[in-house]
Every structure is written in C-alpha cells, then in structure tokens.
C-alpha cells in the first residue's frame, strides 16, 4: 500500500456515503421533506459558495473566519464555502423573496463546510436539514419552530431525545442584574458556550461581585428544573429582560403542551450557543449516546437587516450525520433499504425477454435488476442473495424463491422454484 499518494484517499473531515448509507440518508431526508411540507415550509436551494461578506454576516466576533474554506474568484474577490444555512437563507429572503406574503416558511437540506482541527471524527462537511420561519415574531412563532423541531426528531424514529430551551435575553438580563461588565461578560459567555461550569464559577467568584450577585449567576448556569422552579428562583430578579424572557418561555411551554411535545422539552436557562446572531429563544436537541447536539436553533431578529430586509426570524438545523449515528445506535434503521426485490436472469440471447420482464415487474412497483453478466445456477443465486433479492425470474417463466435464512443457503436447499401464481412473466 502506498501511504504517501493521496490519490485514493480522502482529506480529513469528509466521507463517502456508500449505497446503504446513502439510502438511509435519502430515507431520512425524504421524511423530513415530507414533514416540513406538511407544516407549510417550502424548500429552497442556495449555492455551496458565496462572497465572504455574505457567509460571515451576523457571525460576530467568535472567530468563525478561520473556520471557513476561502478562495478567490477571477477578479480577486474572496469567496467562501457556506458554513451554515441560516445566513444564505436570510440573504435569499431579504433580497429575492420580497414580494412573497409573510410569514415566509422555508426549508432546506444540504451540506455546510467548516474547517476543523485535524482530529478524528470531526466533520468538515456537515449535512444539515432545517427550517426558517421569517417575518413572524412572538411566542406563537417561537413555539411553532420548537414544536416542529421535536416533530422532526420524532419523525426520524429517534427515541429518548430531549430539546433544551433557553433565552438569550434571560442570560443577558441576569448579567445586567448581577452588574457584570463587558469583559467579564465575554469570559462568562465563553464558559457558558463550553459549559465549563468550573471556569464560570471561578470567574464569578473572583470578579468582586456581591455574594448574592455571584449566586444568581451560578444559579442560572447550573439551573435544572421545570418552569415553576424557574419562576421561584428567578421570578423576583429585578430586571425587565429577565422578567420578559421568563414570561415568554412560560407561554411557549404552554403552547408546546398544545402541540403535544411538552414532555420532550426541558428548560435550559444557561443555554448559550456559539453563534452570535441569536436574539431570543435558543434551543438544542440531544440524543442518548451522541455527545454533541443533534439539533440547534433559535430566534435571530437582526440577521435579515444585514441584507437590507428588516424582518424577525427563527429557525433550526438538524445535524443529519449525528442523527443517522443516533438512529443506527438505537437500531432504528431498516437494514434492507438498498436491496432489490427481483433479479431477472438474462442468459445470452434472452435480452429482449429480460428487458420486457423487468419493465413489467417495475411497473408493479418492484425494485428490479437484470443480471447483465449472463449468470446461471448457483452463481446467479449467489448474486441475487448478495443483492438481498428474494426472487429470481427465468426466461422459461419460472420464478425461484430464495430463503432468507443464511444457514440454509449454504447447502443449497434454501430455495424453491415454481410457476408464479401471478403473471409478471406473461409477456407473450
């Protein structure tokens, strides 16, 4: 093996989807497309690369630029592969869809690209699927987005997932109430994003705040509990933003109960996401056994203004790769998504018959492959088994039924050949 030539290798962070994986991805993506459509969301497709200024709009100061794949067009302008889907869709909504009635409900599926450290297992090409709800502010729109996120996870067949719900203004208001200055705020935010509670607490205790202020900050970062518990702890905080955020979260949770997804949602008041464009509720979804969020989203009311259209918006993205991994771990993936139902034998001279027979069988809804290599007997049987097919059709009109039991297959008794009861073969 030649280890120095990269010709047959892949760069770190990207992978192939082999037929059985691509079939799973297609199945998942089909389910999501169907669900999004049934909620009134229309799919948009945006280009893989855009101008750097577009891709970085709203990304803030959190060092996204070095994570971008950048290159130049012929005039020397900097282009970048898209690093998320929300920003390009905000551009489309603000610049191209001005005549559409509001709210805009848009969905998407596709890969985004993020440059990563060379560490095994971190993807540089990330398949995402999601929605953006544009032109509607308020708790009903928030609740719709969160409910649809839960429905999307449920539609994939995933079990035991949880969606954590927080609010940017809640965190900001607690910072205000605890008199946190800008420098400390940046430090605390970074610790919240990484959920480094040790660093958070240390920074709080060393900041010279009062005992009460420090306790308030730590209580926010470590809060776990239901809505009444949140109100008990934070309802008396003398800050408008905290009060308003709590009230909004309360209403959203009530609406989520109407949507029938309340049991899948938990308050996560210390939730902070790394992207800077969020302005309201934020949420993340988690599945057992997958260490990273499988879903993330939130309200971003300022982003469209960056593209000249001042509209409120909320959305979420599912991480399709992690979702597939979680489904596989739970054994929720049908094993035979890429198999054929029927193999049509095609000995030399029987091509016309074989093509016609295959066409008939396909018309009845079967997945059919013609054996183009002219195999017969055990060889043909082995091919059919390898393709997961249960039946072989022969030019003499007989149909062979293959047993699915592997152990029987070995001694040649695992099949029966007989005239089929229905007449997929009768083309004469």
């Amino acid at each position: 093996m030649n280890l120095t030539s990269t010709r047959g290798q892949l760069p770190t962070g990207v992978r192939d989807l082999l037929p059985w994986e691509a079939a799973q991805m297609r199945r998942l993506s089909g389910r999501l497309a169907e669900l999004f459509r049934s909620w009134g969301y229309r799919e948009v497709v945006t280009p893989g690369f855009e101008y750097l200024e577009t891709v970085t709009a709203g990304a803030g100061q959190l060092g996204r630029r070095e994570d971008l794949y950048q290159f130049f067009d012929r005039k020397g302008r900097t282009l970048a592969l898209r690093a998320d889907m929300t920003t390009p869709i905000a551009r489309v909504a603000a610049t191209r869809l001005g005549s559409e009635p509001l709210p805009l409900r848009l969905s998407y599926q596709g890969p985004v690209f993020r440059r990563r450290d060379e560490k095994a297992g971190t993807a540089a090409e990330i398949w995402q699927g999601g929605i953006e709800l544009i032109g509607a502010s308020g708790v009903a729109a928030d609740a719709e987005a969160v409910a649809l996120a839960c429905e999307a996870l449920a539609a994939t067949g995933l079990q035991g997932f949880k969606v954590g719900l927080g609010h940017v203004d809640f965190v900001a208001g607690i910072f205000e109430a605890a008199r946190v200055g800008p420098e400390l705020e940046a430090e605390l935010k970074a610790a919240l994003v990484a959920r480094d509670l040790v660093a958070f607490e240390k920074a709080v205790r060393e900041a010279g705040l009062t005992r009460e202020e420090g306790d308030l900050l730590v209580a926010m970062a470590t809060f776990q509990g239901d809505y009444p518990a949140a109100v008990r702890r934070f309802g008396t905080v003398p800050n408008v933003r905290v009060a308003r955020a709590l009230e909004q979260l309360g209403t959203i949770l009530r609406l989520l109960a109407e949507f029938g997804v309340a049991s899948q949602v938990a308050l996560d008041l210390g939730l902070a996401r790394s992207l800077d464009y969020y302005t309201g509720v934020v949420f993340e979804g988690y599945a057992p056994g997958v260490g990273a969020p499988i879903l993330g989203g939130g309200r971003y009311d300022g982003l469209l203004a960056d593209f000249g259209g001042d509209l409120p918006a909320i959305g979420f993205a599912l991480e399709m790769g992690r979702l597939l991994a979680a489904l596989e771990r739970q054994g929720r993936m049908p094993a035979d998504v890429d198999r054929e139902d029927l193999i049509v034998a095609c000995p030399p001279g029987q091509e016309v018959w074989a093509m016609a027979a295959a066409r008939n069988a396909r018309a009845s809804g079967l997945a059919v492959a013609v054996d183009l290599l002219g195999r017969t007997g055990a060889e043909l049987e082995a091919y059919a088994r390898a393709r997961g097919a249960r039946r072989i059709l022969y030019p003499d009109g007989t149909e062979q039924f293959l047993s699915t039991d592997e152990s029987e297959a070995g001694n040649g008794t695992g099949s029966v050949r007989r005239q089929p009861p229905n007449a997929v073969t009768s083309i004469h």
């Binding site: 297992g121 035991g160 997932f161 949880k162 954590g164 990484a194 959920r195 480094d196 509670l197 040790v198 660093a199 607490e201 240390k202 470590t222 776990q224 938990a266 996560d268 988690y286 599945a287 057992p288 056994g289 997958v290 260490g291 990273a292 969020p293």
Partner: protein, 220 residues
C-alpha cells in the same frame, strides 16, 4: 441501561482518593475497591452505576463520545486535549502545578531571551506551545510520553514543562522551577447529551460531590 450511569475513572495515582470520594458521596458501592483490580469494568447494581477504569488521558474520550456519562480527570488532561465535554465541578484533590523547569544553575533570563534556539521537553506539547507563543518566545517543543525530567540531563532539551505535586522528582533530577504556569486538580466532567438526558440523576450527584469537595474556607 438508560437509567444507569457510567463513570470513567483514571487509574494510577489519584485512583484511591477518587474511590474514597465516590464511596463517601454514596455514588459507589462496596464493589468498587480502592485497590486497583484487574477488572476494568465494575458494576454496582444497587446504585445502578458502572465504573470504567481507564488511562487518564482516555477518560475525556470515553465521556466525549458518550461511552461514559461522567468522568473524573485532571485539569491537565482537559487542557491538553480540549475535549468537547462539560466541566461540572472542581473536585479539589490531586492538586498539582504545571511548571517550567531547567537544570539548577541555568540562568532563566538567558534561557528565555530568545537569542538562541531552545528546546523544551514535555508531555503537554499543545499547552507548552501555546504558552511560549503567548510569551513571544520561539522554542522547539519535544514531545515525550514520560520521564521528562531526564531530558535536560542527557542534552535532549534545555527546559521541561511538566506537572509536579511536591517538587521532589524535580529536585532529585537537579532541576529548579523557573516559573509556575498553571494549577491542576481533578474535575468532574459530563457528556453533553447525558447532562441533559440524565439530569435527574446527575444534578443531585453534583450537589453531593460539591458539598464533599468544597475547599475549606481560607485554609490555603
């Protein structure tokens, strides 16, 4: 197993103290012996907890990928690897210092003035490089898995970056501390999904451990 908790614990020096803490917090039952056994997976059915005994640098990996819900590991390991896990609690034991050390008699100012190419041996190359970069001093970092203290003696390096609890090994190898870089102690870490999905069990457990490990006020 969805209502069970899996802990990853580091073998070696901090093992005994880790087990004592988990027993006192009533997280572990008598099945978890404070002497390291051959068994690397220990189950406490009464407590619905499993313990996975691993090399310290592997603990964050088990937790990051969800093979373990929680882990106990030194901050030194977390700083070097930057795993994507949540750091929940400073457990305040196995406290050691990261130091920059050089042979006794070497002039620290000359070592760090940047006029000659210097070599630094360490088990922590990423942090070492970050530290010297932040100081604006260019050095060559030499990565070793152990016995760092010997490197200056045999001419492999001019300085070392290593952790020390008492400073004894440094003295025995005729090394002096030039600078104290960071302090490390044991931390409780959590898998990002488990932290949410098993919040009912993890929350109270963190509070019990917090009560048992809070530093004694003003004793230091």
């Amino acid at each position: 197993m969805t209502d069970w908790l899996t802990f990853a614990l580091p073998k070696g020096r901090p093992y005994k103290e880790t087990v004592e803490l988990l027993r006192r917090a009533e997280v572990a039952g008598p099945e978890l012996d404070d002497e390291e056994s051959r068994s690397l997976l220990i189950t406490c059915p009464d407590k619905k907890v499993r313990f996975l005994i691993a090399r310290d640098s592997d603990v964050p990996t088990y937790v990051e990928y969800g093979a373990a819900d929680l882990g106990i590991v030194g901050k030194n390991v977390l700083m070097e690897g930057e795993p994507k896990v949540y750091e929940l609690l400073d457990l305040n034991y196995s406290i050691c210092r990261f130091v920059l050390a050089a042979p006794v008699g070497a002039d620290p100012n000359r070592l760090l003035d940047g006029t000659a190419a210097r070599r630094v041996a360490t088990k922590y190359p990423r942090m070492t490089e970050a530290y010297f970069r932040s100081r604006g001093v260019q050095v060559e970092t030499i990565f070793l898995h152990g016995s760092i203290e010997v490197a200056p003696k045999v001419g492999l390096a001019d300085m070392i970056v290593d952790i020390t609890e008492t400073g004894r090994t440094l003295r025995e190898n005729n090394l002096q501390v030039i600078e104290h870089l960071w302090t490390s102690s044991m931390r409780l870490i959590a898998n990002r999904a488990s932290y949410r999905l098993k919040a009912d069990r993890i929350g109270p457990l963190v509070e019990r451990l917090r009560a048992l490990t809070a530093p004694v006020a003003q004793s230091q």
